[in-house]
Symmetry: C2
């Protein structure tokens, strides 16, 4: 039986693939695991039936037989532990790849989300002009550190891993800015992720949800 | 050979145990693994020798033979995979405990850190009075959801796990506010974590670093 994930019924980014279901779709495509998608409206997110799957009322969730999971990082780790292709076999390399998963979600993503939220929610506030550059600086600090560690390597630690998958999706959240492009090796890193056949299949599938929602 | 972790030479919270080494100390105490600590000054954090261990110039790091890890979540998962006591044996329960680890770090901690940073960095800005309540609301949304899921259970999903360990340390970051106390079941949950013998040993050890740094 295929696992079922949830995704937004109405793509908030008009099919750019920035919502967190994209990460899970990509991971499932990398390992060749077919899956089903249940689309959820914004109203349904906050209802008890969805809260039972996701205590914080978000997407994606992951259902597979008796198991229900939430948190894209945990879902991807679960997939990576059960299929080859997302984590190295060597125990130390595996632990380091998992460290990059946590780094993407707990060190690099938070200042990016904060910048994104301020751009959406605080644009009319009288502090926006002063505060926005501070948020950009926080993001740049992380990008500079990441760029410095990546150097001229293709991926963060040896072969492509779930750590790279998460980091690429986190960096893509900056696609409406020019921040990543200031670091040519990071821009090339994101492009390398986007060029993977599994990424392209996942992207096309989430885009199809948006396209189908358009009025004819 | 014992693993070696890094911690701040000068406790930024004067021994309250809010820095991220506390999480790793607690996990090591839960599983009964002795460890060594190397103290790092703020200046050393940004030097190349430390950046080789931690690309983002933070603590804690974890060194064990050939393996170097960073990110407290990844370090704790590594410890939990090698010792009994932090993750359930049942595969589905184990995956759910890991989901709570990610939830603590990627869903609950970011708004708490944001509130903390604003309190420290934006107190004299002219927008502080207007923006601070917005940040408090964001934290309360997450606390309400967490409180609702926890209900009258002792821990988030069955027995105490690494997910609870991380969630308790994340909630403790609010200890200079009265936010957690607004949710009695969350306050009791944090107290339950703090009462564990392993927590108390870890707390005493990090406090000793602070006490030793005081002028005599």
């Amino acid at each position: 039986m295929n696992p079922t994930i949830t995704a937004f019924e109405a793509s908030p980014d008009r099919g750019q693939g920035l919502a967190r279901d994209m990460r899970v779709r990509w991971a499932l495509e990398e390992v060749g695991q077919p899956y089903d998608v249940r689309l959820v409206s914004f109203g349904e997110l906050k209802k008890p039936e969805h809260r039972r799957l996701h205590p914080f009322g978000q997407i994606p969730t992951y259902e597979e037989g008796d198991l229900t999971l939430f948190e894209s990082g945990a879902i991807i780790l679960h997939i990576a532990e059960r299929h080859a292709g997302l984590l190295p076999e060597d125990a130390n390399a595996r632990a380091r790849a998992i460290a990059w998963m946590f780094a993407a979600l707990n060190t690099v993503e938070p200042p990016i989300v904060e910048l994104e939220m301020a751009t959406i929610l605080e644009r009319d506030k009288n502090w926006y002009q002063e505060r926005h550059p501070i948020l950009e600086d926080r993001v740049r600090v992380r990008l500079r550190e990441l760029s410095s560690r990546l150097g001229d390597a293709d991926w963060l630690d040896g072969a492509f891993s779930a750590g790279d998958l998460l980091m690429v999706t986190v960096l893509r959240r900056l696609s409406s800015t020019a921040e990543v492009e200031k670091f040519p090796n990071l821009a090339a890193y994101v492009a390398r992720g986007e060029a993977r056949p599994a990424y392209r299949r996942a992207f096309a599938d989430q885009l199809a949800v948006f396209t189908a929602s358009l009025p004819r």
